[in-house]
């Protein structure tokens, strides 16, 4: 997919510019995961917030956030399906994006994974880089695809009502895929024609780099007593570039891990039964993680403000109103129906976590080596504080689970920075972060 190759060069360029990536590339890319645990990240976004019923309706046990903070938390009815994973997940409360309240309320999905000040974008600019793309920067050299960007609706939606939660290093939206078959074909069935065109592109590139190299070497000989430092850097860089291109060309021939695809139903679409659709998408993510095809995934489960097909899902599930409509409900019946949609999402999450636990890495399950972030950009619709957030997995990256962590007015970006640090990505900041979350869930930051 074009956007990936584009991201590929840009990201590395900005990411590691100035330092030389001297690791034996091929070896690193094809490293045997049976010996070393991969570090993975998956962001899951749900729109319009969660049901937090008005106390006067007496249905508080349907409120998404757990009862009691800390280790003694009690699952609400809408998250009860996640009970089996108590030791592998934590709820987080009190989070917010400082830039969130300043903008139009539904812009929260555009900036959920970026934290960008969208209300005050300078003319000519868009968003800023999303967390999954920063992760991809640092994991891409170990796997086939830098990242996988999925959404309930294909494409990008449009700015301020985004259809993708992933933004590249320039802050431009990365088009999401929503068709299980297309995703599968691209990830697991690299078709021969596209592989060949990729190969011939690489071959041509290698040839040209060789020509540049030759010309540069002969220039270098003619340089007399001149200062050679820049030329040396140039030649070294060019050599390195050539070996990377050669490595990429070889990647094409490395076979994908053998897996069982029999449970997949690639005919499902977003227009069919929601449960079937989500389960197949989650299966694909689990398979991609297991085969080390990618280590960074962003999946927008549904969209803000009544956009797209997902708005109709509660209707299909018999909950009577559309998703955006439910999120605005003030009545008892509506808030309960909204909570039951949350319950539905919890069931899908539980399925996903289960799948991730079924595959094993060198040590622990895939879930133990993947940080899964699930949440929304609003607590309930139009309310950009106390973002409902659930974080699961990553035990082998120092995540300590089993509690409901709560601290009001904590920047969401601090959670993101903590995730990066847990993954061994040494950054000083992410977006408007002011630090890391130190005291509980993240023990390795």
């Amino acid at each position: 997919m074009a956007s990936f190759t584009r991201l590929d060069r840009r990201s590395v360029l900005k990411g590691i510019a100035g330092t030389t990536l001297s690791l034996p590339l091929l070896e690193a890319m094809g490293q045997d995961i049976s010996q070393k645990n991969p570090k993975r990240f998956c962001a899951l976004y749900t729109a319009n917030g969660m049901s937090l019923p008005n106390p006067k309706h007496g249905i508080q046990d349907w409120s998404w956030f757990p009862k009691n903070t800390g280790k003694d938390f009690v699952y609400s009815k809408s998250t009860a399906p996640l009970s089996p994973f108590r030791k592998q997940l934590s709820f987080m409360g009190g989070l917010y994006h400082a830039n969130g309240p300043k903008a139009d309320p539904h812009v929260c999905s555009d900036m959920w994974l970026t934290g960008a000040p969208l209300h005050d974008s300078k003319p000519g600019t868009y968003n800023s880089v999303a967390l999954d793309q920063v992760v991809a920067l640092h994991t891409k050299q170990y796997c086939r695809q830098p990242s996988l960007v999925l959404s309930i609706d294909a494409g990008v939606g449009f700015l301020s009502r985004t259809g993708t939660i992933s933004y590249n290093l320039e802050g431009k939206p990365i088009p999401a895929e929503n068709n299980p078959r297309r995703v599968f074909d691209r990830l697991f069935r690299g078709d021969q024609a596209s592989l060949e065109s990729q190969r011939s592109r690489l071959k041509r590139r290698i040839k040209l780099v060789d020509a540049v190299l030759e010309n540069a070497r002969s220039l270098n000989k003619r340089l007399g007593k001149s200062d050679r430092e820049k030329m040396d850097q140039y030649l070294t860089s060019l050599n390195e570039l050539e070996s990377r291109l050669t490595a990429s060309e070889k990647w094409i021939d490395i076979p994908i891990k053998k897996q069982n695809y029999s449970h997949l139903d690639l005919d499902v679409t977003s227009e069919g039964e929601p449960r079937e659709y989500y389960r197949n998408m989650f299966d694909l993510i689990a398979l991609a993680f297991d085969a080390d095809i990618t280590r960074s995934v962003a999946f927008m489960l549904n969209r803000e403000d009544g956009m797209g097909i997902s708005d109709t899902f509660p209707l299909k599930l018999g909950l009577g109103r559309t998703h955006h409509n439910l999120s605005h409900a003030g009545d008892s019946q509506g808030q309960l129906a909204f909570a039951k949609y949350d319950l539905f999402l919890s069931e899908q999450l539980a399925y996903f976590f289960g799948r991730l636990n079924e595959s094993k890495d060198a040590s622990g399950t895939v879930l133990d080596n993947s940080i899964v972030l699930f949440g929304s950009g609003a607590s309930t619709t139009h309310n950009p504080t106390n973002l409902p957030t659930l974080i699961a997995g990553g035990a082998n990256m120092g995540l300590r689970h089993g509690s409901y962590w709560q601290k009001s007015k904590t920047p969401m970006s601090n959670v993101y920075l903590s995730i990066l640090r847990s993954m061994g990505i040494e950054r000083n900041s992410f977006s408007d972060s002011t630090g890391v979350i130190r005291d509980s869930i993240f023990s390795a930051v």
Partner: protein, 1077 residues
């Protein structure tokens, strides 16, 4: 928090390390970082940001990490640690240039004292005993190692030696708790260093030519000039690292990496793909016009059009869209905008579209949209009249300070449409005129007292029909209205003949005869005048009072009617939140009352595009916008701008094949012979790209690429592309190479000189004339004439902009987050103009070859309306956005030191910061840079127990052990600025204490006295600083010891002429610093 880095790690933190983090931290998220305490030590250069970050590590963390510190340090607590690192920090700055010891101060006691043998016997043992334990290869305290110092006069050691001299002579090193050398040993060491330095400045320095990479902006300009391609493809390149002196063209700090080279390949490939076309193909051209005017469309779209919430579309009948076919000298394919769409998402009214809906009408594809923040201070932000659309200046909305209203400015007209070309240049032609306008009077104004009135005409108004009035004399009239008793405030729409006015009108409480509510001032001609006042059921009469020519109101009107609205065009995309419109070219003054055509040009890919897939199912997705505004400067009353039509054409081609193609595929008799023609093309192109004739070997190498490719594909275009791709990624193109064959200084060859001149003075490649002069061997002789010509060329602005911004660190102003509550005038748009002020000021000084002292002290500012208004001088200019010199008549203005962009950039956006300002002045203006903030000094924290002023906190910081030394060279320069607030304006509070004792014990009371001191007593030093920065920028590297000494000593020649700006640039160009390699 991660472990405290070791000293070694600190040393390794060169400026371009971790550039990714910095890039995003600074560029994307700078908005978010607000430190809790006051950051006093962050005077670090941009190039050493990472050290600055370390400087902020808190005391607590230092305490917990003392285990990792060297032995003698761990004995003591933070204070000693801080002090020691700080003192060592003096030495750490070895590469920076400070005052060389004045020649002649110390007479060398004989040559024998200098040299390697002497060093080995006398000096090395001393260093070993007193210094090396902390400053060796493994343990580089403060990044200093002295084990490499030898008796050789190596340039890299001379600055270091000079710093050691200072440390040792003043007994600051070794630290007090270390073993001290004897007085005699100190004498021997200092004497040796002094003699070594003297000997060094007398020797001939080795020169080794230079190889430096083009900076990002040089690369961008070069590519544009070479290919004739306006699209900027360099956005993907990481910004260049900043050198210690503040420049991005320093060869040492420039990075090169595999990824950068890959980016060069990609950019070159994209560029060539855009330049080279299929000659036989017909280009597709999109061309349409939107006409505006009341009821201009006889067949308006019948649908109720809505473009999202608050879309504020013009009435369907007031908008006419016509698809056109331009007249071209070549065949082309007209692009027909798509009208058939099917959407399932998006607003209709305030509800969501559900279910597929089909559309088939051009007016569902092209909209006339006014969506912007509501309201206007006086009158309507916009109105359609039969002649077109009237626009008042577009007031920037509060979005600029992050409030919830984010629709864009008031009076925000846009052609919103679904399709624009993917690439290429475009033209937007706007037919516009200055409306023959009236000046609306403030709400509640009363008609004039008779003193100012020559004559009065009144007429009773009818509720139903226009009224005819006869105006007896030409003049300025105040139009007032008399009311029925108990009339309420109402919107008045008033037609006087063909002219239209409207606005809120507040009736007088107690109407009396001949008195009324004053509404508008207009100039009227004698003769009959048809008057229509709509919504006038409460109106009784209209009153025309002819004003005395010299009355205040008449004068105001005369100023008003002379003003010219500024027409601006923008391009961007629609979104529900915020605005993405970016300016196309400059604002254009519209002074004529008749319609004129104004053409705006740009390259479409340089503007925000929606990045939405073509089959997006949302009605609102992917909408692009062509904004047309009457631009806002400072809110002065402005005649309205009349917009009649907006025409778009793109991709715009003058010819076919386009010039970008013909630049490459030149005319040649060999056109029909693929191999011979390829040789011609490649040779010509490579010579232009390399800025010099190419050798046969080079040509052969590139032609070989063609041969290889052509043999395989038989595709001439592609094969030539391949060869040119190699040319554009070759070091000869990407690097500025000055080839040296001996270690001795050699003269630049003519082509090297041409490039050096042009990258210095134009920031781009040499033009034809420079290269011709070079080829003829006449460039060295015609240096003066070429310099003159180059300064007059528009490309010289590229030098002024780059040099001024980098020298004065104007990027600091770009990233400072202004506290909007304290500085409400410092809006984003105002910032943009203030950012330009120092550049325009320097441009003016150079253009008129004025003395350098103006930089410090001038009786004028160079400002446009926005900038002048910021300094409360708005009434002294009517120049729109054009920067012009203005006599300020204000003792607190003039020179760059009191320019708001500089002063605010050196603040935290809330409070003035004498440390930043002092360090900046020391660094930039007098070339006495303070050391980098040492690592590990704790940030001063507000513990909240005391309320201290910044000045008090500063004093506390200064008095803290370990801080005093550095701050003695910083604070005295910064304190005089205290009369200026963080917004860069003179503080209203007169109690500010700005007295300061400068390092040479001169006392100054405030900035004015400091300016006097600098301009009168220290102008040699200021001139040296300017020369030093100029020369460093010109040659793209840090200067050597001898060069610094040369500039300091020989630069004084220019004093007699008053240190004039052009003379100084010329001095640099004609010096060996520039002419030798």
């Amino acid at each position: 928090m991660r472990n405290l880095p070791t000293k070694k790690a600190l040393h390794k933190n060169s400026p371009n390390r971790d550039s990714f983090d910095l890039y995003f931290h600074e560029k994307r998220a700078a908005a978010g970082s607000r430190h809790q305490g006051v950051v006093l030590c962050s005077w670090g250069n941009v190039g050493s940001r990472d050290r600055r970050v370390l400087h902020l590590i808190r005391a607590k963390e230092i305490m917990t990490h003392t285990k990792s510190l060297p032995r003698w340090m761990s004995r003591s607590a933070v204070g000693v640690l801080a002090m020691t690192t700080l003192v060592l920090g003096w030495i750490a700055n070895a590469q920076d240039t400070k005052t060389p010891p004045p020649a002649g101060d110390h007479v060398p006691s004989g040559k024998a004292a200098v040299g390697e043998a002497n060093f080995k016997t006398h000096i090395q043992p001393l260093l070993k005993k007193s210094c090396l334990r902390c400053h060796n290869a493994d343990n580089m305290e403060s990044g200093i190692r002295l084990d490499q110092i030898s008796g050789k006069l190596e340039d890299k050691h001379l600055f270091l030696l000079r710093d050691i001299l200072k440390q040792v002579a003043n007994a600051k090193m070794p630290p007090e708790d270390e073993l001290q050398p004897s007085a005699e040993q100190r004498r021997v060491l200092t004497e040796w260093i002094r003699q070594t330095l003297v000997a060094a400045s007398a020797r001939n320095q080795q020169r080794n030519g230079s190889v430096r990479r083009l900076t990002v902006s040089q690369y961008r300009n070069t590519l544009r000039d070479l290919l004739g391609l306006d699209e900027d493809l360099t956005e993907v390149l990481p910004p260049d690292a900043v050198s210690k002196e503040g420049f991005v063209n320093n060869s040492r700090t420039m990075l090169l990496s595999p990824l950068l080279l890959e980016a060069y390949l990609d950019i070159a490939e994209t560029a060539l793909n855009l330049c080279i076309v299929e000659e036989s193909a017909k280009p597709v051209i999109q061309n349409f016009r939107m006409d505006l005017g009341r009821s201009i469309n006889p067949k308006p779209c019948p649908d109720n059009l809505i473009l999202g919430a608050n879309s504020l579309l013009l009435k369907n009948q007031d908008v006419l869209v016509t698809q056109l076919q331009p007249t071209k000298s070549f065949e082309f394919q007209p692009f027909s905008m798509r009208t058939k769409y099917e959407f399932i998402e998006g607003y209709q009214g305030n509800a969501t579209v559900r279910g597929w809906r089909k559309y088939d009408d051009i007016y569902h594809s092209v909209f006339a949209c006014m969506r912007g923040t509501g309201g206007y201070p006086r009158g309507q932000a916009y109105e359609t009249v039969p002649e077109g659309l009237l626009l008042r200046p577009s007031i920037p909305s509060s979005e600029l300070f992050g409030q919830s209203s984010t629709y864009g400015p008031k009076a925000n007209f846009k052609v919103s449409l679904r399709e624009l070309p993917d690439h290429g240049n475009f033209k937007v032609k706007v037919k516009a005129a200055r409306y023959n306008d009236g000046l609306l009077l403030p709400k509640g104004a009363q008609t004039q007292a008779s003193d100012d009135v020559v004559s009065v005409i009144t007429a009773d108004l009818s509720a139903t029909a226009p009224v005819d009035v006869t105006i007896d004399a030409e003049g300025i009239y105040e139009v007032g209205l008399g009311f029925e008793p108990n009339a309420k405030p109402n919107m008045l729409s008033l037609d006087l003949g063909e002219r239209h006015f409207s606005g809120q009108l507040i009736p007088l409480k107690s109407p009396v005869d001949k008195k009324g509510a004053a509404f508008v001032l207009v100039r009227l001609k004698p003769g009959p005048l048809k008057v229509t006042a709509r919504n006038n059921s409460q109106l009784r009469r209209i009153i025309f009072s002819r004003l005395h020519d010299d009355s205040e109101l008449a004068k105001r009107f005369k100023t008003f009617e002379q003003r010219t609205p500024q027409l601006s065009v923008f391009l961007g995309l629609r979104r529900d939140c915020g605005s993405t419109l970016a300016r196309v070219g400059e604002a254009r003054p519209v002074s004529a009352g008749q319609l004129n055509e104004f053409v705006f040009e740009g390259a479409i890919n340089n503007f925000p595009s929606p990045d939405v897939e073509k089959d997006n199912v949302n009605y609102l997705a992917g909408i692009r916008e062509i904004g047309v505004r009457s631009d806002y400067t400072d809110g002065r009353d402005m005649p309205r701008l009349l917009i009649r039509s907006i025409e778009f054409e793109g991709p715009y081609h003058e010819t076919w094949p386009p010039v970008t193609h013909r630049n490459i595929f030149i005319d040649s008799p060999n056109r029909d012979d693929p191999a011979a023609y390829a040789r011609d093309v490649i040779r010509t192109f490579a010579a232009r790209a390399f800025r010099r004739p190419i050798s046969d070997a080079e040509a052969a190498a590139f032609v070989a690429v063609w041969q290889d490719s052509f043999a395989e594909t038989r595709d001439q275009r592609r094969s030539i592309k391949d060869a040119l791709l190699v040319v554009l990624t070759s070091p000869q193109f990407l690097f500025l190479i000055e080839n040296s064959s001996t270690p001795k200084p050699e003269a630049l060859d003519a082509h090297e000189l041409a490039s050096k001149l042009s990258y210095f003075l134009w920031n781009s490649a040499p033009d034809k004339q420079l290269l011709e002069r070079a080829a003829a061997g006449k460039l060295h002789q015609s240096l003066d004439a070429e310099f003159e010509r180059m300064t007059l060329d528009p490309r010289f602005n590229q030098f002024v902009g780059e040099f001024t911004s980098q020298w004065l660190s104007l990027d600091k102003f770009d990233v400072v987050e202004i506290d909007s509550k304290r500085y409400p005038k410092l809006t984003r748009d105002t910032k943009t103009q203030l950012r330009q002020e120092p550049v325009e000021f320097l441009r003016h000084l150079i253009k008129l070859n004025l003395p350098l002292s103006n930089l410090i002290r001038s009786d004028f500012i160079v400002a446009n309306e926005v900038v002048a208004s910021y300094y409360d001088l708005g009434d002294r200019t009517e120049s729109g956005f054009e920067f012009v010199p203005i006599k300020h008549g204000n003792k607190n203005l003039g020179g760059i030191l009191s320019q708001a962009g500089i002063l605010a950039g050196l603040s935290d956006g809330r409070e003035s910061n004498p440390v930043k300002r002092g360090a900046w002045l020391a660094r930039k203006i007098i070339a006495a840079p303070p050391d980098d903030p040492p690592p590990n000094v704790p940030q001063l924290m507000d513990d909240g127990s005391e309320k201290l002023t910044l000045r008090q906190r500063l004093e506390r910081h200064r008095n803290q052990k370990g801080c005093a030394n550095c701050h003695a060279g910083i604070d005295p320069w910064g304190v005089p600025f205290e009369t200026f607030d963080a917004g860069g304006l003179f503080k209203k509070n007169p109690a500010v204490d700005a007295r300061s004792t400068l390092p040479d014990k001169t006392e100054v009371a405030d900035l004015n006295e400091l300016k006097t001191y600098l301009a009168d007593d220290r102008i040699d030093r200021v001139a040296f600083s300017f020369l030093k920065h100029l020369a460093g920028y010109a040659v793209g590297r840090s200067l050597t010891y001898n060069e610094v000494v040369f500039l300091e000593e020989q630069g004084r020649q220019l004093k007699a002429g008053g240190y004039r700006m052009q003379d100084m640039i010329r001095f640099v160009i004609k010096s060996d610093v520039f002419l030798k390699k």
